[in-house]
């Protein structure tokens, strides 16, 4: 494991930023944190997690796909793909790292999404173990260990030191190039892990269980509880857009007046034109739209991915939903129904 004093952390960031862009969670001045490109003066936030998830790095909200230039009857097709440079993301929490796996299973299986793959290949993820989980955290429910996040490398902040270890070749190549001292004395790290584990076990949502709904999918689908749960849903996209695993997108054409810009953007199953087809939308009521979101995460996705849930328990939707409806409430209600 590499070790450096926290007072040298900015020098450490500077060293990484010499060669490639570095993004770290920094305070946004509004009581939260967001990923910010590191530059002199940008300080690592103490927040438990960023308000927006880290999926933006690999699956940005909008992405140009292709341009069409129209000249009379001639249409020229232009590849408007943005050249992606190597970049490093530091400070990704275990839940968000897990979300990359979920996005990978969608975008990196055949047919491979070359836009996503391009960004994924250029990015190096340095995760950061949690030490102060919040009341809205429930990653344990999905078997995620907040104290041992995955990624290309993982870091711990214990006492006055930053410990960091490589987990992949990419991570090890990056770390070995930085010239930081190695250490065998990792007692502080293990002490912190033990302490965090205790905190995790005491979280208010620690007892939340992820039931296997896949065997009772029809019961889940037809459960009467959906009516009550979705009753006051506003049909906005807050939950979708802060979610690290929501992966649906729409492809839109924008008429610039002298051509067409084709881009993709995040879509939300809560929206009226989600999966719109020639005959209309298959889900007309808010109940159906609402149900789709949670069935996807708790039933359809696990059915197709060996029981892995499409939720990582980051708790962002618990904080951001305007009416405070969320996946935990859904899981509790649904759990009772499918007992």
């Amino acid at each position: 494991m590499y070790k450096l004093n926290l007072s040298e952390i900015n020098a450490f960031f500077a060293k990484i930023a010499q060669n490639e862009k570095l993004y770290i969670p920094a305070d946004n001045g509004k009581g939260g944190a967001r990923y910010t490109e590191w530059a002199e003066g940008v300080e690592l936030s103490n927040a438990c997690n960023t308000e927006r998830s880290a999926k933006d790095f690999f699956f940005p909200q909008t992405e140009n796909l292709v341009d069409f230039k129209v000249n009379g009857k001639k249409i020229e097709v232009i590849d408007s793909r943005e050249e992606c440079e190597d970049f490093v993301v530091f400070g990704v929490r275990a839940c968000d790292v897990k979300s990359f796996e979920i996005l990978d299973s969608v975008y990196l299986t055949d047919p491979i999404d070359s836009y996503y793959k391009n960004r994924r290949e250029h990015g190096t993820v340095i995760s950061l173990a949690c030490s102060a989980p919040e009341e809205t955290c429930f990653c344990r429910t999905f078997g995620i260990d907040a104290t041992k996040p995955a990624g290309d490398a993982r870091a711990y902040i214990a006492g006055d030191s930053l410990y960091i270890e490589a987990l992949t070749e990419k991570g090890s190549a990056l770390l070995s190039s930085l010239g930081i001292a190695e250490t065998d004395d990792t007692a502080a790290v293990y002490a912190q892990i033990a302490e965090t584990e205790k905190k995790l076990a005491e979280l208010p949502l620690a007892a939340l269980e992820a039931k296997d709904f896949t065997k009772k999918q029809l019961d889940a689908f037809n459960a009467p509880v959906w009516a009550g749960l979705s009753q006051t849903c506003l049909g906005c996209g807050s939950c979708t857009f802060v979610c690290p695993t929501c992966q649906c997108y729409d492809i839109k054409d924008f008429d610039t007046g002298h051509g067409i810009k084709r881009f993709r953007c995040w879509d939300s199953c809560m929206y009226s034109d989600f999966t719109m087809m020639a005959h209309g939308t298959p889900r007309n009521t808010q109940l159906e739209k609402f149900r789709q979101r949670f069935m996807h995460k708790l039933v359809y996705y696990p059915m197709n991915n060996d029981g892995v849930y499409g939720c990582v328990g980051c708790g962002r939707c618990l904080k951001k939903c305007p009416i405070s409806m969320n996946i935990v409430k859904v899981m509790k209600s649904l759990g009772e129904v499918t007992e």
Binding site: Q61, P204, S238, F254, D267, K319
Partner: protein, 291 residues
């Protein structure tokens, strides 16, 4: 309060006066209450909640609820009653199908900083219920609020500073539409921004222009009808102070066309569907402070 409200709601249900009660359902914590419709006394006893985290304005739900069979009882905080009135004025709520219970409100707490009052409550405009069938607790007075302070501060900045301020705020928009969907004044069946035939539909803030367009039009479309309930800012996941756009319109209306509070009464003509021959010319804008 909560106990009295539950008892009264149960009574209304059992007497058959109403067949549903619109209120707040307790969540996982003390601060994540969800608007909900209750139909039986046991559910009310177990799950109905009224505490300082019941910020959600229930009046918009009445657009759908009052269209259903039977009467629905609803709990309205003072500022919610303004939205309620405004919706009645716009013929969006069937008043006869609603039994409105005004409830006392001492200000709601900010979910993100639970010691503090929400911004909108710290600059509360009125503790007075402007519409109700019965009242639980006290109805207060219209307050002398400082709610335009920030608007004034912005007005006194230079044009460049204002531009920078709003770029900084609006560039965070993710276009989740929460501000629009929660707004009691936004009741179009098909919003221009969702309608592919409008030419302005868009799902993402794909360009800074889209952010400006969306937020100007959102605020403009409710200008003169916005009661300043502050829901837009409460629900914004990016904490954009959207109410400052709405308050600018309210302030301009007050200054140019006379004091007006949307939702105060149900039969007044709104300022944008009204005029006088002596109205100010648009050039009045050029004559103001900083450019």
């Amino acid at each position: 309060m909560q106990k009295v409200m539950i008892e009264r709601a149960a009574e209304l249900l059992s007497s058959g006066k109403v067949n549903r009660v619109l209120g707040w359902r307790a969540g996982l914590f003390a601060h994540d209450n969800t608007p909900s419709v209750f139909t039986d006394a046991a559910d009310l006893q177990a799950n109905f909640v009224y505490n300082e985290f019941c910020g959600a304005n229930l009046s918009k739900y009445l657009v759908k609820e009052s269209d259903k069979e039977g009467t629905v009882a609803v709990f309205l905080k003072p500022c919610d009653t303004y939205s309620f009135n405004q919706l009645i004025a716009e013929h969006k709520i069937k008043r006869d199908n609603v039994y409105a219970i005004g409830v006392q409100c001492n200000g709601m707490k900010d979910v993100n900083d639970r010691e503090k009052l929400e911004e909108r409550c710290a600059s509360c405009k009125s503790r007075k219920h402007v519409a109700y069938d019965e009242l639980i607790g006290e109805s207060g007075e219209i307050l002398d609020s400082n709610r335009f302070d920030m608007v004034e501060k912005l007005e006194n900045m230079t044009s460049e500073e204002r531009f920078e301020f709003w770029r900084g705020e609006l560039s965070r928009c993710v276009r989740c539409n929460a501000c629009r969907n929660v707004c009691p004044a936004c009741t179009c069946e098909k919003c221009i921004f969702d309608n592919p035939d409008s030419g302005s539909a868009n799902k993402a803030p794909a360009d800074p222009f889209e952010e400006n367009l969306f937020h100007i039009i959102r605020a403009f479309h409710v200008a003169g009808r916005c009661t300043d309930c502050g829901e837009c800012s409460r629900v914004c996941p990016e904490n954009i102070p959207l109410h400052l756009l709405n308050r600018k319109f309210i302030k301009d209306i007050n200054e140019l066309y006379g004091e007006y509070q949307a939702g105060e009464t149900v039969n007044e003509r709104g300022p944008l569907v009204n005029y006088t021959q002596g109205d100010a010319e648009p050039s009045v804008v050029y004559e103001r402070g900083n450019s």
